[in-house]
Amino acid sequence: MKRALPWIVPLTILLLWQAASQFGLLADQVMPPPTAVAAAFWRVSRSGELLHDIEVSTWRAFAGFAVGGGIGFVLGMLNGLSPVSEKLTDSTLQMVRNIPHLALIPLVILWFGIGEEAKLFLVALGVFFPIYVNTLHGVRSVDRQLLEMGRAYGMSERAIFWRVVFPGALPSIFVGLRYGLGIMWLTLIVAETISASSGIGFMAMNAREFMMVDVVVVSILIYAALGKLADSVARLLERTCLAWNPVYAEA
């Protein structure tokens, strides 16, 4: 009974939605009924079109994430550890951070056209800042007393990094990671919707041209599912890596 409780509201909404379509309260061109959406899902999966588009979008998302997140992580570590590096780059980065990366879309299209680079660039740029800021914050908030203990006990600089600084910064890095994943999907949706010749966003825009509202709804749901999946994997990783922390320990 307890486990069924959270499902009651969504199921009721689904039933009401189906009923509203059935009794003609909801026009199909506005919102097709759940059964039609399910049928559309079945159709595009069978043709292989869906799988291909998911593949393309996922690749774009994670390639951009790897580039932007990687640079953000390295710079965050560097600026957290080296005051010189921080003085040199941090204020510049903080200024650039104020520009919403999606505002660059026209410029990016001018530079790269509507090719893959444009989408990679936007995703990388969007993901960079949350990872950078949270890595930097994580390194800065590492317990000074632990650093002093490491030195007093003869740990090498390398050992101090891998056994004190990195694990100490990890909780904050995970915050950046999960936030970055959210930005990654959001950026990709916008970029693919504006300009693409493949991917889930393209599938949606293509379906819109042919007034296939059911396929549009399918693409939206796929985006939601992918976002949820990525977040769940990140959470699982977080729980495993931070098992030492009572906050994350499984009850």
Binding site: G154, R163, P167, W244
Partner: protein, 259 residues
Amino acid sequence: MNLSIFDTVPDTELRVSSAGSAVSLRGVTKAFGAQTVLHGIDLDIPAGQFVAIVGRSGCGKSTLLRLLSGLDQPTGGTIEIDGRSSGWRDRTRLMFQEPRLLPWQRVAANVEVGLSHAPRGADRRRLALEAIGQVGLSGREQEWPAILSGGQKQRVALARALVSHPRILAFDEPLGALDALTRIEMQALIEQVWQDKGFTAIVVTHDVTEAVALADRILLLDAGRVAMDVAVDLPRPRRHGDPAAAAIEGRILDRLLGR
């Protein structure tokens, strides 16, 4: 690791003199900017002695310990350990007021931190388990520090300090944050490992009773100078409420409170 030497020497007297280091300070000063914290300290601590340092807050106790454990360098004067003025850092260990365990490492791995200077290998784990046994935490090797009590964490910190068999063990108010009962247990444990191992013990404490209960000798630090140097010639184990101890305690307190 030369621990096997100590383990096979049966004679307690011999063990004491071979396991502890003699400390000698000559005109040691320490200044932070314009503020001079230690003013030319001269001090000789024989190998294996248990010294307690008491004094008002801010009189330079922690600063002195940091110099003795090689964490800081004196502004002037020399520190010699076993007659050597350098290269002795590995012989000393410092225990802090807080346990300072790595929360993301289990108990055994935390104790192995004490062997950072030694080569990796199975030996490390064996020595760590041995030290954990010495502080009475056998069976807790695979716990996270977060689930241990304050006293247990401080025991792990003690094991981490002991595992490298230091010749000098310095404690900076190690029991200050513990409740009264745990304190007494920890005092007994520190006294016992000191008697077992024979290292030179230097304990900073704000508790004069604790100093009298544990130490062979009590130094009172005042404004960066040794203001009082009292021998505590009482037989061990010492009992709480011994009148001779109370007399020593009274003398030191009088001086501390400026009476």
